[in-house]
């Protein structure tokens, strides 16, 4: 017993002594050390055992630590382990490399064009010059930049673009099944010229030109030669193709795989990246490594940001201004004052129109009018949303581009744009509609007391704060609204089906942010009757709203070219939305949060930074925001 005690005491004392001497982070080595680095002791790479083709990273030998002044650290993008590097897969969970979305992430794979949410335009990346529709609006043609190359040195050609599309269709991956209704084919006219043929409607024109255009800035160009290698490897099996870890994938972007395990993912710059050609960026991006430590929750990421271990954070930080006002940290956002970021998406509260009473406009509008949105902004967003006084509600996000697309001076619309907390107005609306207060103090519709449950997923704190305000609004006007916060998975499974289960009366869901098809895409998802009351519905209109007049306008807009007509249609849609109130916007939210620590790197995108085209605050990875990587400088220089 005594011997055990002695040994244990020595061990404990030694551990404490050694740990007390330890520094919080190891000093970065400037040059690779001589220590052998082939074995990985506790952590393994995330490559699954699905195929035997997975290989260890070739660049790991000798590198023990990433040099701080060559690495840009991220937080808030990558949650959980990276599973694969396969651009054909829809489940790689590889946030640093793969995100085919409105503002495509172009660190490793590239699109022909990049969307800039600041001005609503697209700029060429792999393409050379703007794209053009033909006179009959049946196809788009664009040229490829002759300087564009893959990381193996071979040029990016039109055959790559065509073969990528053919592969999407052949194997029915997410892009294939999504775009097949709008794009008929992608053809290589010559090695530098691509033609995208649209699916034509009965009028002989493209069924939806907006979606066809969006393909050019949303979906990657993948190398034909590598795709053929992959196809041979999986024997043409679609499931295996999409499940392949693709550690050997060819890419044209500035960064490629360096290291990944359960704790972090690191990408390393390809110093032969074609984009340093004068026709594109003219130089290499500043950081040599892009690294993302995998934090378990927001708090850990925030602590790391404050400690200077994170440079770019896509996390929501409550009261972000306290970082520099109170803590005197070199942390900043795109805008120096509230709302600190550019609002782009519209988290929306939906009504289940099949719930008793919620088919009545008066009840829906009264609840929406009574909600205190300023409190939501203060509690849920800590001031990081534009107010409805500053940006009156519509279907558009606060960006200048979208706001210009409807007639905000129309008096009929102005009369409909409630700013919230209008308890008296809501009560009057209900009284006038005959929905009066019963003996128990609660409102009744046709003799039945109104009871509703308002929900959002558990743990989404800003949404929960919003739902609490909805319940409070109900209380203020005499409607019993209780709250419920199920886990995200059962919630999402429930709201995407029809009919909605009992107890799903009022609920929050996402709506589209900024993108090349917006605001049409958002309106389509919010209001199009084709999605209403359907099962397995991942599109939108989850409350089951049907309005043929709205559908006509929604289906017409993508085919229009006359700006005046487009504006008239959008204005009409806003009018319908604010009159019928099938759902209502709770707040404006940034496309991505963009908070940066300037202790190592500086010259991030910020308001008035003079960049042209303007670099959006999308964490330097999405859409035109990638240009921000080329402007970074070290603080020490």
């Amino acid at each position: 017993m005594k011997r055990i005690f002695v040994v244990l005491s020595v061990l404990i004392v030694a551990t404490m002594f050694l740990s007390a001497c330890g520094t919080p982070t190891a000093a970065p080595t400037a040059a690779p050390t001589a220590a052998p680095a082939t074995a990985v002791p506790a952590a393994t790479t995330a490559a699954p055992a699905a195929t035997a083709a997975a290989t260890e990273a070739p660049v790991m030998a000798g590198t023990t630590a990433l040099p701080r002044n060559e690495t840009l650290y991220f937080a808030g993008q990558q949650w959980g382990s990276v599973v694969c590097w396969n651009p054909y897969s829809s489940n790689c969970n590889n946030a640093m490399a793969i995100a085919e979305q409105d503002n495509a992430r172009v660190t490793m794979f590239e699109t022909p064009y990049l969307f800039d949410m600041m001005d609503g335009k697209v700029y060429p990346l792999l393409a050379d010059g703007p794209y053009a529709w033909d006179a009959g609006q049946t196809k788009i043609t664009f040229k490829l930049n002759a300087a564009a190359k893959w990381n193996d040195g071979t040029p990016v050609t039109a055959d790559d673009v065509a073969y990528t599309w053919a592969t999407h269709i052949k194997y029915q991956d997410n892009v294939g099944v999504s775009d097949a209704a709008y794009i008929k084919d992608v053809v290589a006219v010559d090695p530098q010229t691509v033609e995208v043929d649209a699916v034509l409607g009965s009028n002989g024109k493209a069924v939806n030109p907006l979606v066809v255009q969006a393909y050019l800035s949303t979906d990657y160009v993948i190398q034909e030669a590598w795709t053929k290698t992959l196809e041979a490897r999986v024997g043409g099996d679609a499931t295996k193709l999409m499940a392949d870890p693709a550690m050997d994938v060819a890419f044209s972007g500035p960064y490629g795989y360096f290291f990944a395990d359960d704790s972090k993912v690191v990408m390393v710059r390809n110093d032969k990246y074609w984009g340093q050609d004068a026709s594109m960026f003219g130089k290499l991006p500043a950081p040599k490594y892009l690294a993302h430590v995998i934090y378990k929750d927001n708090a850990a990421g925030t602590t790391a940001l404050q400690a200077g271990e994170v440079d770019v954070s896509q996390q929501f930080n409550a009261n972000v201004q306290d970082f520099w006002l109170k803590d005197n940290l070199p942390i900043s956002t795109y805008l120096p004052d509230a709302p600190y970021d550019i609002g782009a998406s519209l988290p929306t509260v939906f009504f289940n129109l099949a719930s008793y009473g919620l088919d009545q406009v008066a009840i829906r509008k009264a609840i929406a009018m009574a909600v205190n949105y300023d409190t939501i902004n203060a509690n849920a967003m800590t001031g990081q949303s534009a107010t409805f006084a500053a940006v009156p509600r519509s279907l558009m996000n606060p960006s200048a581009g979208e706001q210009a697309l409807y007639d905000s001076s129309d008096p009929a619309i102005k009369a409909l744009q409630f700013t919230g907390n209008d308890i008296d107005g809501a009560k009057k609306l209900l009284d006038d509609a005959g929905i009066t207060v019963g003996p128990d103090g609660l409102r009744q519709y046709k003799g039945q007391t109104l009871h509703y449950v308002a929900l959002c997923p558990n743990g989404w704190s800003d949404w929960q704060a919003t739902i609490e305000q909805v319940a409070a609004a109900g209380k203020a006007i005499g409607i019993d609204i209780t709250t419920n916060y199920p886990e995200a998975n059962p919630f999402e499974a429930a709201v995407t089906n029809w009919p909605l289960p009992a107890g799903y009366d009022i609920f929050m869901m996402w709506s589209d942010g900024a993108g090349p098809t917006q605001p049409w895409g958002r309106i389509n998802h919010l209001m199009n009757g084709v999605y209403a009351q359907t099962k397995n519905n991942w599109n939108g209109n989850w409350g089951g709203y049907k309005n043929p007049a709205a559908d006509t306008l929604i289906n017409e807009i993508p085919t229009l070219t006359d700006p005046a007509k487009i504006k008239a249609d959008y204005t009409a849609l806003v009018k319908i939305y604010l009159t019928d109130v099938p759902s209502f916007t709770a707040m404006y939210r940034p496309q991505s949060f963009h908070t940066v620590n300037e202790s190592v790197w500086t010259n991030y995108p910020h308001q008035g930074d003079g960049t042209n085209p303007p670099v959006p605050p999308l964490d330097l990875t999405d859409g035109w925001s990638i240009a921000g990587l080329y402007n970074l400088t070290l603080v020490s220089q």
């Binding site: 055990i4 005690f5 244990l8 404990i12 740990s19 330890g22 919080p24 190891a26 970065p28 680095a37 990985v40 002791p41 506790a42 952590a43 995330a46 699954p48 055992a49 699905a50 590198t63 023990t64 630590a65 701080r68 650290y73 959980g80 599973v83 694969c84 829809s90 489940n91 979305q101 997410n174 099944v177 999504s178 979606v211 969006a214 499931t239 999409m242 395990d261 704790s263 972090k264 690294a291 934090y295 378990k296 708090a299 850990a300 602590t303 790391a304 400690a307 271990e309 886990e487 995200a488 998975n489 059962p490 999402e492 499974a493 996402w510 993108g515 098809t517 958002r522 998802h525 991942w538």
Partner: protein, 334 residues
């Protein structure tokens, strides 16, 4: 030894029967959860996409792949077949990563954090508890309230206190990660050192609470034994104090060993709180994500490992008791 044979056979049969029932429950119970694993994947995809036309078809693809649209008994037989071939299946939430791959990368962090923490906490706690029972008076008066206080601190409370004091304020130790945020795993001393340094706070957040709990338990058992008749009798016989204490602690230790076995059995569930607060790699957080995402294969696999470890630990304890507990020895030779 004939009596022993019957005793062990009896325990073994119960082990196997329990294992079979646990296996069946491990399969059924996660699948009774509300929610839909494919919905989690779809939700991740749908956000940020303007063109969601194809998601319904993608949903069908995944549902077919995972077999979630098949009847439960069909899924069960597929599952049994796979497990008998050593294949735990493919994770839903981390598709196409296999469950074995996820477990193998996460389990070592969990075991290396939990196992030493449990052992160290157990040893120190029992030693302090025994000492308090023996010394009584001053030492006991301090140790008892401190142990009660520390053992009843919730794990997240202890973890956050240590994090704030040693990580944020004093900056002696790092606040998150299994190793340095700028390190790449390799066999250099600086990496090993980084792992040790990052190990401290999660380790001590578990150990300190374990010490408190063990100390109270051991103290109570020791006081009970010290007041036993055979102790007084031995003293009257003139046997030395040291020898008596040896007997006392050997008896007092028995329930503590049972507790230790159970702790080791359940340790694979991961130190969830420590992992979240310190962003420490391990199985706990993986399991939490699996549960919230309805990842049946991963949940079933981890639950089965925990079940088997608890059963084996219990079985091992019963074997050991058979040898060291003289009452069982006596019962067998009857």
């Amino acid at each position: 030894m004939k009596g022993y044979g019957k005793y062990f056979l009896n325990k073994l049969i119960w082990l196997l029967v329990t294992a079979v029932f646990a296996f069946i429950l491990n399969f059924i119970l996660p699948r009774l959860m509300p929610g839909d694993p494919v919905a989690g994947i779809m939700a991740r995809l749908a956000q940020g996409m303007a063109n969601t036309t194809g998601l319904k078809a993608v949903y069908e693809q995944y549902a077919n792949l995972f077999g979630t649209n098949k009847p439960l008994y069909v899924q069960f037989f597929l599952y049994v077949n796979n497990v008998l071939h050593g294949n735990f299946g493919i994770s839903f939430s981390q598709y196409p990563r296999t469950v074995s791959n996820i477990l193998s990368s996460a389990i070592w962090w969990t075991v290396c954090l939990q196992f030493p923490a449990i052992i160290v906490g157990w040893l120190i706690g029992n030693w302090l508890g025994a000492l308090a029972a023996y010394l009584k008076k001053g030492f006991d008066a301090v140790l008892m309230p401190v142990s009660i206080f520390v053992s009843n601190l919730p794990t997240f409370g202890m973890a956050i206190i240590l994090l704030v004091i040693f990580g944020v304020d004093l900056k002696w130790l790092p606040t998150s990660g299994g190793y340095g945020f700028n390190m790449i795993p390799n066999l250099s001393w600086s990496f090993m050192w980084s792992v040790i340094v990052h190990y401290q706070l999660p380790f001590w957040s578990i150990v300190l609470i374990a010490i408190g709990g063990q100390a109270i338990g051991m103290r109570s058992m020791s006081i009970y034994e010290l007041n036993a008749d055979y102790v007084k009798y031995s003293r009257f016989l003139g046997i030395k104090d040291g020898k008596i204490i040896g007997y006392v602690f050997r008896n007092a230790m028995l329930p503590q060993i049972t507790g230790l076995a159970l702790s080791i059995g359940t340790m694979v569930g991961g130190a969830l709180v420590a992992e979240i607060i310190f962003s420490y790699p391990g199985l706990g957080f993986t399991l939490l994500n699996a549960i919230t995402g309805g990842d049946y294969p991963l949940i079933s696999a981890v639950a089965m490992i925990i079940t088997l470890m608890v059963l084996l630990a219990n079985f091992a304890i019963e074997i050991i008791y058979g040898f060291i507990d003289p009452r069982i020895k006596a019962a067998q030779s009857d």
